[in-house]
Symmetry: C2
Amino acid sequence: MTDDEALDYDPNAYQRPSVAVDLVLLGIRGGEPAVLLVKRDAPPFAGRCALPGGFVGIDETLDAAAARVLRDKAGIATAHLEQLYTFGAVARDPRMRIISVAYLALLDEAAFAAALDDMPGLLAATITVPWPGETGGAVRIATPKGAVPLAFDHADIVALAMLRLRGKLDYSDVGFALLPERFTLRQLQDVHEAILGVTLNKPAFRRRMLDRGWLAATGEREGGTSFRPAELYRFHRPLINRPM
Amino acid sequence: MTDDEALDYDPNAYQRPSVAVDLVLLGIRGGEPAVLLVKRDAPPFAGRCALPGGFVGIDETLDAAAARVLRDKAGIATAHLEQLYTFGAVARDPRMRIISVAYLALLDEAAFAAALDDMPGLLAATITVPWPGETGGAVRIATPKGAVPLAFDHADIVALAMLRLRGKLDYSDVGFALLPERFTLRQLQDVHEAILGVTLNKPAFRRRMLDRGWLAATGEREGGTSFRPAELYRFHRPLINRPM
DNA sequence: TTTACTTATTATCGTAATGTATATATGTCA
DNA sequence: TGACATATATACATTACGATAATAAGTAAA
């Protein structure tokens, strides 16, 4: 890590910051990106919403801390979880120095709804991205009642999550983390359109996804439609990643 | 950030980890990616090489800490500096819990050589990437004398830096951070080939780069060649990013 | 002065990827 | 049985890209 001077390792030589993890629990609700928040009832920012988070234990990995918060605060046993960025502004928490490692958790629609139902403290807000492509910038976080101002720098964290997601969506497999195990091509396209904020060309999207080799047809079809049902696909990582 | 319970903010309620920054000082030397290292002379890992790093001050931003390490340990006033990832394995330092925020610093060939000359503690090692594309995995770090085993988990950090760099190279402007202010298209292609570990098609590369709109011809030409000199270009971010 | 040589730069062509429009298939429901 | 809505497949235009060849512009040697 760092210095060679023994002084640097004297536990009392430096004041140490606290380290926390904060989770962006992201899903698609009604065709729009949405995030799960907790309402704060103690200062600072009492009454405001915040991302679920918690301190990192002294004997706990960052990933383990994120998984624990996912379990304890959202009641979710497993989800796609990836480290996003570490926020270290000095006064991001007015009380004390807290460095926060932000994580992105992706939930499919059922998991999102289940968390919302099972955990009384959680509430859902819609994310609207006002910038095109991967420009970056602030996003609007709102419920049907209106805009939701977030505590701390959590709005920046959500904005960064959207930027990262847009960047990774079409070269990685993160899109599938937002879908149930079996899904139609239309559902997959809906997820991409919701994240990217654009409408995509259907045949071209279909071709690209099928050519990628990540989709396995199940032979089953969706039900409950009053029109021709679509084929259900399953995500499977190809064994040979890169044919060279 | 985190909990709503006031207990969470009692400074003595939790044992706090130390937080450090570690820098991957990366440049291209002789057509190969290279990294600047410091030799440790105290345990643990005495005699091994490590990334330059330092603890984050209680009143210091993460970015500021990275810039300070860049200045104090590498003698570099300014460079492209971006946060890479935060490493939080519990026993990554055998003495105490240290969470490290890794930064990637990109140096052009002159800055790399100057740092190596001016700071006696620094040494340069070549990075060899054995995996194709963005597969990921370990990299080989070596000097002409042989492989250089790194202290702590620093080899993982360097490997991640290469993975990140490969991913960002051709859709972002990071490649220009590895070049002097004025450069030829051949130099730009050399940088891309060194990072990606492949040989690229020259006319196609030229077309793509020019069409991107990031290159401004200076009208000047390189000197010192015994053949036709190439035009010198300058990087300039276009004012209109995305023609919609 | 001319020619050889080396690389820069431009042009040409074929192929693959993608956008767009249209046609056909398949289910429900009146 | 036919209207309807969407899935799926096909055809064609446009664009991006790889490969190769042709031309340009310097130095150095004959």
